[in-house]
């Protein structure tokens, strides 16, 4: 794989609290998981680095509290990171740590380069706007001022995610959880973003609904070759979607490699536990 990564994440760090000499060292005896018993600082994300290659699906798996969602929120600029750098391989952004850009530039990236599907549809959708309006929002934000054009693209997307067009003017607040999630996916895809983030998108859905949403994501990946970062606590989801995976625990990366490899021969004790519970 000699291709250049489309997204490079370097030494991401997120802590809640000031930190103290007792907890700067990862192996410190004062750390209880990622919590410093001396100063009370929570090290939610510790020195996380990874690359995402074009067209690849990268899985990030870990228990709740492992820092994976916090990290994703940081990547999508929903919350600020304490330190670290993120590079996007797009000509206009070459060499720039996007975490340090102005909020206007970050908005540009969210509108043109990133797509995001949140675990909770409330975070990603305007529940009181029509579904088509929700999908249109990103296109409008990206400067599209042609209604029929926006409408056409929205309809395509809705069909892609299997939402009947007769319901496109309804508000997502009246939709089931699975449908809301599909509207979110359609919205995230509206501007053909090269990078898509998926945060626990099937958590809380019925099994059959989970399956259909996962199918949809696979189909999108096959057809559109979008690079994706899929965050989940569920190894089954990761197994189904991700080519490569990262395992996170207490804010750190404890294992990474091809998903199949990790599943067959887990190295870390925690990963072993995780894999055996899957069998």
């Amino acid at each position: 794989m000699y291709e250049k990564p489309i997204l490079q994440v370097k030494h991401l760090q997120k802590q809640f609290g000031e930190g103290c000499p007792h907890c700067f060292d990862k192996e410190s005896v004062y750390l209880e998981k990622n919590y410093c018993t001396v100063c009370g600082t929570v090290h939610a994300v510790r020195d996380v680095s990874f690359d995402l290659y074009p067209g690849e699906v990268l899985g990030i798996v870990g228990e709740s509290g492992s820092g994976k969602s916090t990290m994703l929120q940081g990547l999508y600029f929903d919350s600020s990171m304490t330190s670290g750098a993120v590079y996007i391989n797009q000509s206009e952004l070459t060499g720039q740590n996007v975490l340090s850009l102005s909020s206007q530039q970050k908005r540009y990236i969210r509108n043109y380069i990133y797509g995001m599907v949140y675990q909770n549809p409330v975070d990603g959708l305007k529940m009181k706007f029509s579904s088509i309006g929700n999908i249109a929002e990103k296109m409008i934000a990206a400067g599209n001022r042609n209604v029929s054009n926006i409408e056409k693209r929205s309809k395509e997307l809705l069909e892609n995610v299997h939402i009947p067009l007769r319901r496109m003017k309804e508000e997502p607040q009246y939709f089931s959880g699975g449908m809301q999630q599909r509207v979110q996916i359609a919205k995230a895809l509206s501007n053909n973003p090269p990078i898509l983030f998926l945060d626990e998108v099937t958590t809380g859905l019925d099994l059959s609904v989970q399956a259909s949403v996962l199918d949809l994501i696979k189909q999108i990946q096959r057809e559109l070759h979008i690079s994706m970062v899929v965050v989940s606590h569920d190894l089954a989801v990761i197994r189904m979607l991700a080519d490569r995976s990262i395992v996170m625990l207490n804010g750190e990366v404890i294992e990474n490699g091809l998903t199949d490899q990790i599943l067959e021969d887990p190295q870390h004790e925690y990963t072993q536990q995780l894999v055996y519970s899957l069998l």
Binding site: G17, C36, V38, C39, G40, T41
Partner: protein, 371 residues
């Protein structure tokens, strides 16, 4: 077309103003300003507090002119305030110097200096007193005479008494954090419109000017559950404090050289609100924070409610509107809320015509789509 006839606005207004005057005069009774001042003190206090202008005589005049309408009286006084040049800020007022008329604490039975019930409706049974229908001045005089004599007998010329603050007592015990004195001059919200997020000085100004009913309702809402502040009243004190200003040209003059310009009566409330804080070892501890309420005149309910809202706004909390500074601060002003509500009485027929056009066009479009 009714009252927005193209012609006749001038005549209509003149006639309406005459009618207004007629209504005030028609019963042939004249209420003296002094009568209002002497017998309607709570009304005067409320008007001064909401108008944020301490001028009992002008407030009484406003009440007379407004025929008892609170919103109107406050409005009159506020508009008058706009015309007054403001040259000085007073020296900081220390309420410990208050000449206390009433002071209670709900936190301690035994507070240094003791509780002083003073004059309050709190323990008066709310039964209509039909004796007031026919009051005789003479009887009142007699009552007053005996009262004075009794007072003299009970308290033979005691020294003037000043009361230490309850909160100082608790501070000495380490139950309150000691903050360094912050002498940052407050932002005067009447000279610069407030910007969000606000500072505490701005919040306190808006709250103390707030409409009594609005401040009370929101404070109550927080107390009842739409908020997270349920305080214990450390101290309510009512009394007068002296106001001093510095010499206008000698900026460095000593405090002692400042000029006494008069007294204002205030209600001050310090509420104790338990909060969890982390100590140096990041262990959670309970501590008290102070919710602060202050008002011109005797306005105890408002001042208490203000102290609740002060604490609410110190601790923003997404779930509750009472903790949302824009929600609270932008909606409690009497002049603003009553003005905007009442503006709905103005003709809106251009805007309505415009909406009507939109509705018609939408309907037309709908029909052609269906056909």
């Amino acid at each position: 077309m009714g009252y927005v006839a193209v012609k006749g606005g001038t005549e209509a207004i003149e006639a309406s103003l005459d009618r207004l005057k007629y209504d005030r005069l028609k019963e042939a009774e004249v209420v003296e300003i002094n009568t209002v001042l002497a017998t309607m003190r709570h009304l005067v206090d409320q008007v001064m507090s909401e108008a944020s202008l301490y001028a009992p005589f002008l407030a009484a005049l406003a009440i007379k002119q407004a025929r008892g309408s609170m919103e109107e009286a406050v409005f009159l006084l506020r508009a008058h305030r706009s015309t007054l040049p403001r040259h000085y800020y007073s020296e900081t007022v220390d309420t410990e110097d208050m000449f206390v008329e009433r002071r209670v604490s709900a936190s301690f039975k035994d507070i240094p200096g003791g509780q002083l019930l003073g004059s309050t409706n709190d323990y008066a049974h709310r039964l209509l007193d039909f004796d007031l229908v026919k009051e005789s001045k003479e009887e009142n005089q007699n009552w007053l005479r005996t009262y004075h004599e009794r007072m003299k007998a009970d308290h033979p010329d005691k020294d003037l008494q000043f009361f230490p603050k309850v909160v100082d007592y608790l501070r000495a015990e380490g139950l309150f954090e000691r903050y360094p004195l912050d002498d940052t001059p407050p932002n005067d919200i009447t000279k610069e419109s407030i910007q969000f997020p606000t500072g505490r000085s701005e919040r306190l100004q808006v709250l103390t000017r707030g409409q009594t009913g609005a401040v009370t309702s929101l404070g109550y809402a927080s107390l009842r559950g739409y908020g997270q502040v349920h305080p214990t009243i450390g101290e309510v004190r009512v009394g007068s404090v002296p106001i001093h200003v510095q010499h206008p040209y000698e900026e460095d003059s000593e405090q002692d050289d400042s000029f006494y310009i008069g007294d204002v009566q205030l209600t001050e409330v310090e509420s104790f609100v338990p909060v969890t804080v982390k100590n140096n070892n990041q262990k959670e501890e309970l501590e008290f924070e102070i919710g602060y309420g202050i008002s011109f005149g005797q306005n105890e309910t408002k001042a208490i409610a203000m102290s609740i809202l002060d604490q609410c706004l110190q601790k923003p909390h997404g779930e509750f509107p009472t903790h949302d500074e824009e929600f609270v601060l932008l909606h409690i002003d009497s002049v603003e809320s009553t003005g905007f509500i009442s503006h709905l009485k103005l003709p809106h027929y251009v805007t309505f015509q415009s909406e009507l056009d939109s509705v018609r066009q939408v309907k037309k479009g709908g029909e052609s789509n269906d056909s």
